[in-house]
């Protein structure tokens, strides 16, 4: 007879409760699966098949752990949000920026390290009981938003000036010039379009993609475990 409690503990992962509470949950679930297994045995299944059938009661163990946490603690509490999203996100962001500042790794070394920071955020969120979307957001969103902020801001200003210029010139027939801005050489859309695009691509889009890859890595692992 297998140790149902051990099997469940292994599959549920970190149930973020006080030890006594966690053991009670494991005891209860183990008792349930043991009874399902016994029932299948009386129906004529071999011990192995009965075990498999009992374990099939749960399609996604991580999701079950998540739902148990939500049920016990309540879904929307602020403390949970902080532990599952904000702190892991801040850790991922700090690691990314810290690596850039302290190690001065150069662009490519910084770029290649991004998946690690994505994994870090997603892992911390998972440890705190974050669901998949929260894990992705914690591992990816924070650094991406900070990295993308200057690029997004520049793009928004570029779009605003372009629309303004179009309206003034074609609808109001009062052409305007961006002379102060052009002279300053900062935001002239005619000059800055390509460099804005490159900035967005290298500082935001590509790093965000590798961050996302890092944040999504744990899901590939989970799927593999479930398949075996």
């Amino acid at each position: 007879m297998p140790s149902w409690k051990g099997l469940i503990r292994e599959r549920l992962g970190a149930l973020d409760f006080a030890a006594e509470r966690r053991e009670e949950i494991l005891d209860e679930l183990a008792d349930h699966l043991e009874q399902v297994c016994e029932e299948r045995r009386t129906q004529g299944l071999s011990e192995f098949d009965a075990m498999r059938s009992a374990l099939d009661e749960v399609e996604d163990w991580r999701e079950l752990a998540q739902r148990i946490r939500f049920a016990k603690e309540g879904e929307g509490s602020m403390i949970n949000q902080i532990r599952r999203l904000w702190l892991p996100g801040a850790a991922s962001l700090t690691a990314s920026i810290g690596w850039l500042i302290l190690a001065e790794p150069g662009y490519w070394a910084w770029f290649i390290a991004q998946p690690l920071f994505g994994v870090l955020g997603a892992y911390l969120s998972w440890r705190a009981g974050g669901d998949r979307l929260t894990q992705l957001a914690a591992g990816f969103l924070f650094p991406a938003v900070v990295m993308g902020y200057p690029g997004i801001q520049g793009l928004a200003m570029w779009a605003t000036f372009s629309v303004g210029e179009f309206v003034q010139t074609n609808l109001l027939h009062q052409p305007i010039h961006f002379s102060p801005i052009s002279h300053a050489g900062l935001l002239d859309p005619r000059l800055m379009g390509f460099s804005r695009f490159m900035l967005l691509l290298t500082q935001f889009v590509l790093p965000s993609l590798v961050l996302l890859l890092g944040a999504a890595l744990p899901f590939f692992k989970t799927q593999k475990v479930q398949e075996t």
Partner: protein, 110 residues
Amino acid sequence: MIGAGIKRGTAELAILSVLEEESLHGYEIAKRIERQTKGALHFTLAALYPMLYRMEKNRWIQGNWEISGNGRRRRCYRLTSQGKKKLLPIRREWAELFQALRRLTKVSDA
């Protein structure tokens, strides 16, 4: 496709109804529901326990560890007074829904 809200409502009604009869542990709750609905409702472990814990948190049911006849320690759930109060309006709502659906299907058939 039955929506999550309807599923949850059905599950709550089913669990509260069987616990109204007597205190039961999780596996018995699942079996009792399956038997009484002739297999139409089947609760897996994954569906049952988060629901039980949520209902316990809402104080509709209360779980206590008990020693069963064969000496096993099991957590039995009983309906609380709040759960009994909750059961009445849920029953009424579902009865109304079924009546409405019956009327609707009769009109469609006619």
